[in-house]
């Protein structure tokens, strides 16, 4: 058990000027289970792509440093070479053929064959499949997992958990597989199923297969892994045996940063706790990758509420669902009044507005001028900026539109040549400000702002947050900010709701300890 199966030395990777991994060092011994954790964008998936030899890496200039498998330096240029060396990967998204039987999926492209007469004429392509042998092999692989799954069943008829196991079975069916990478395998599973999966992983490791286990659920890491590797912003923060650490410490490493140095929110606002402006009851949103499941949330009038959570946990889905951009169900009450879901015009008319996380896709018409972008919703919903032409046409009032835009150019310090410039030519930060100007022009009572600082530079981030804070104070507008950066939320929010697995895990005051918030994000909040 002492042999180093995989060794990574001084591994660095950058995309253009953007360094995503720097000086990563760790190794895996035979039969060891390593947990890999980190926030979104910490570099987990890039690291896995490098190990598995995905072609994106080569295409973007390869990596620096060394990867050794069994003491031999390797540099895979495609996943097939990695498979050849005994590395298997189970991706977060299933890659099974739905209409095929489990056994067919497991042995796909490695089928046992029988000699066929036609082979002599048409070559290997027409060899007959040896169905019995294939079923046998599949069953053996499933057995290895210590499970009972009918290998003759078609994938579409299986529960999600079984599909996950079939994926793993496919990887270990390969004789050579020595290292298995599991990317968020428990994300789609229930608690019970996760437990079975972790048992399975442990069994596999006893059989000498090493495993890299990526998950955001830290309790699973503690439960299953021998060692945990923590990444943050592309750096390896820690590599430590799980027996020597605990969830709290790991969270701290993951979220890290110097916690004390941050300004803490000093609230001088008076918020009436009873005055609920928005209430969500059993709210579900079917947004791919950001599902919201049976969520309940009350938002007080005049506050800034932060929505925190890991990627894929549903925090982004909430605003998109309320605003009718993705299919939703459940009860939405705004100012005590029921809002019909799935009708985008409805919440807008009632006085809500949404600054989308997808700035370029949803937030702006890139080819239009700044002025028009700002005016669009007001024209459509509030019928502003229109003047009448002989009482026949009501057409846009360019002068008013330009005046309004110039107003905001000054107020929000949007850097541009004029309000007639196309928004496509602006920087990310300035585009975001245009989105905010658009929202402010609508003068909403409640504003959703999703990932306001994503993809904009540090200076602009501060500006955008200041603008939001000031707007909240001056106009008494309720703001709900969704952000992946907890630090930001702590700076400007009154309360922070942590969203995990599609539900609100906890609502904390912004003054709460960042570790506390972090723990709720990784699903171990209630432990203490």
């Amino acid at each position: 058990m002492e042999e180093k199966l995989l060794e990574i030395k001084n591994l660095s990777k950058s995309f253009g000027e953007n360094t995503v991994l720097k000086d990563i060092n760790f190794h895996i011994k035979e039969g060891e289970i390593i947990g890999l954790v980190g926030e979104n964008g910490a570099g987990k998936s890039t690291l896995m792509k490098i190990i598995f030899g995905m072609s994106v890496i080569k295409d973007t200039g390869g990596y620096k440093g060394e990867i050794k498998v069994n003491g031999k330096v390797v540099n895979f240029s495609n996943p097939f070479e990695a498979l050849e060396e005994g590395i298997g990967m189970v991706h977060q998204e299933f890659s099974l053929i739905p209409g095929f039987k489990a056994s067919e999926n497991i042995v796909l492209n490695r089928e046992s064959t029988k000699k066929s007469f036609l082979e002599n004429f048409f070559g290997e392509g027409v060899t007959r499949l040896d169905v019995d042998a294939n079923t046998n092999r599949s069953e053996k692989a499933i057995d290895k997992l210590g499970l009972k799954i009918n290998s003759e069943e078609v994938i579409t008829n299986m529960p999600v958990a079984h599909m996950q196991f079939i994926e793993i079975a496919r990887e270990i069916e390969r004789e050579k597989t020595k290292l298995l990478i599991l990317d968020e395998p428990t994300a789609v599973l229930t608690e019970k199923e996760s437990e079975i999966l972790i048992e399975t992983i442990k069994k596999l490791s006893k059989k000498g297969i090493s495993i890299i286990f990526i998950t955001h659920r830290l309790d699973e890491i503690i439960e299953a892994c021998d060692k945990v590797v923590v990444l943050r912003d592309g750096l390896m923060i820690k590599s430590i045996p799980t027996s020597e650490t605990n969830v709290e410490e790991i969270t701290q490493w993951m979220i890290g940063r110097k916690v004390e140095s941050n300004k803490e929110k000093t609230s001088d606002k008076e918020i009436d706790e009873e005055n609920i402006i928005l209430e969500l009851k059993n709210f579900n949103v079917d947004m791919p990758g950001e599902r919201v499941k049976n969520l309940n949330l009350k938002v007080r009038k005049g506050e800034i509420l932060g929505l925190a959570g890991m990627a894929g946990q549903g925090k982004i889905g909430i605003a998109n669902g309320v605003m009718g951009l993705y299919l939703s169900s459940g009860e939405v009450k705004f100012k005590g009044e029921d809002i019909k879901t799935n009708l985008p015009a409805e919440p807008l008319k009632k006085g809500m507005f949404f600054v989308s996380e997808d700035r370029k896709g949803v937030g702006l018409i890139l080819d239009e001028s700044i002025a028009m972008n700002i005016a669009y919703p007001s024209i459509q919903i509030k019928k502003q900026f229109l003047k009448s032409f002989g009482k026949v046409f009501n057409y846009r009032d360019i002068k008013e539109i330009t005046n309004n835009a110039n107003d905001y150019l000054k107020k929000l310090k949007i850097k541009c040549m004029s309000s007639e410039q196309r928004v496509a030519e602006l920087s990310g930060g300035n585009q975001q400000k245009v989105c905010l100007a658009k929202a402010f022009t609508m003068d909403p009572e409640l504003m959703f702002v999703s990932e306001p600082t994503r993809g904009i530079d540090v200076g602009a981030k501060k500006l955008v947050l200041d603008i939001l804070e000031k707007y909240n104070k001056e106009n008494k507008t309720t703001i709900i900010i969704t952000s992946s950066e907890v630090e930001e939320l702590r700076m400007i929010c009154d309360r922070i709701a942590v969203v995990n697995e599609g539900k609100v895990a906890a609502i904390l005051p912004a003054t709460a300890d960042i570790i506390e918030i972090g723990k709720h994000m990784v699903g171990v909040g209630g432990d203490k």
Partner: protein, 341 residues
């Protein structure tokens, strides 16, 4: 620098085609052709086709694609024309009645057509082509069984059903010139004026709330949705508008041409119009009035000039063959670069 910017704005394809067209006008005197008549021909054809080309704009702007289903709108216009003749309305009134019925049928047909296109999001152009084709087939039956009685339209000697070609000589032939009392001038002033009116209405429309909503749907559907715009409705609106304009366009075409052509005539109506607007610099997603004007002029100019010039050079009459080669060649050229031109 400034010249370069202007060239880029206009686009090389248009400059090359424009130069080619100019060279043909210049060569006219040398080949013994009448330049004035040639120019006049070009303008008449421009006047006949401009509104049909303009009818493509709403659908392009709303992201519903190039209107390959234009024959459907044309059929609505034909119904308008035949009903007007059936009612015996003559002169400018007859023309107005034809337009009125064309608009009514344009709205009805366009609405149904819009519903179909909403079911075929992403593949509009293919579906549109076949909607256009099948509408022609359906109307072929209709022309035979609809109860038209006017002696000027049904088959002679007491037959039933409409003729393939109906003359409007006694009704509203070149009425747009007659109404302006410009009998001796051959230049199509009436058509140009009516085109300018419609072009103005369309460009104003795209500055109204409704027009802006339609444009938003065409340029960024997600943005439109987030702005509370009803996407399906805007798309149907654009299709109705396009079909209506196509119906009006064909009536204008007929009053200039002198004949109402039924049965298979509308079959290929869409292709020359689409080729014209593409040559004018429009793309599948964006079209302006200027694209319409430049495109119609260049396309119709080449179409009128090439046969006569080539005939002049090789001294044999094969104008029809050349016209077919040139028009289909230009359509092919325009469609292959519908994204970039």
């Amino acid at each position: 620098m400034n010249v370069k910017a202007h060239i880029n704005k206009l686009g090389w394809p248009r400059i090359i085609i424009g130069l080619f067209l100019a060279s043909m006008y210049i060569s006219c005197p040398f080949l013994g052709l009448d330049l004035k008549a040639a120019l006049n021909d070009t303008f008449i054809r421009f006047g006949m086709n401009a509104v049909l080309v303009l009818s493509l704009v709403p659908m392009i702007q709303a992201g519903t694609g190039l209107n390959f289903g234009m024959p459907l709108g044309v059929e609505a216009g034909l119904l308008g024309a035949t009903i007007s003749i059936e009612l015996g309305a003559k002169g400018f009134n007859g023309f107005l009645v034809a337009i009125l019925f064309a608009i009514i049928f344009g709205i009805i047909f366009g609405w149904i057509y819009g519903l179909i296109l909403n079911k075929a999001k992403g593949g509009e152009m293919m579906i549109a082509t076949y909607v256009g084709f099948s509408s022609v087939a359906l109307m072929c039956i209709m022309w035979l069984i609809l109860p038209f009685k006017s002696q000027d339209m049904i088959w002679a000697y007491g037959g039933s059903g409409l003729r393939t070609t109906i003359s409007v000589e006694n009704y509203w032939y070149r009425i747009l010139e007659k109404v302006l009392n410009l009998k001796n001038i051959n230049f199509p002033i009436g058509e140009v004026i009516i085109f300018i009116i419609f072009a103005f209405i369309i460009s104003m429309f795209f500055k109204t709330k409704s027009g802006l909503a339609m444009k938003a749907v065409g340029t960024n559907e997600k943005f439109a949705k987030a702005t509370g715009i009803n996407i399906e409705k805007e798309r149907i609106k654009s299709v109705v508008l396009s079909s209506m304009l196509a119906a009006i366009g064909i009536v204008i075409y007929q009053q200039s041409f002198g004949f109402v052509q039924l049965y298979l005539a509308p079959f290929y109506m869409a292709f020359p119009a689409i080729a014209a607007i593409l040559i004018g610099g429009a793309s599948v997603k964006k079209a302006t009035i200027l694209n319409v004007v430049i495109g119609t002029f260049l396309f119709q100019g080449i179409l009128t000039m090439t046969p006569s010039v080539v005939n002049g050079i090789i001294k044999t009459d094969m104008s029809e063959t050349i016209r077919i080669i040139v028009s289909n060649g230009m359509i092919l050229y325009a469609l292959t670069r519908k994204g970039e031109l």
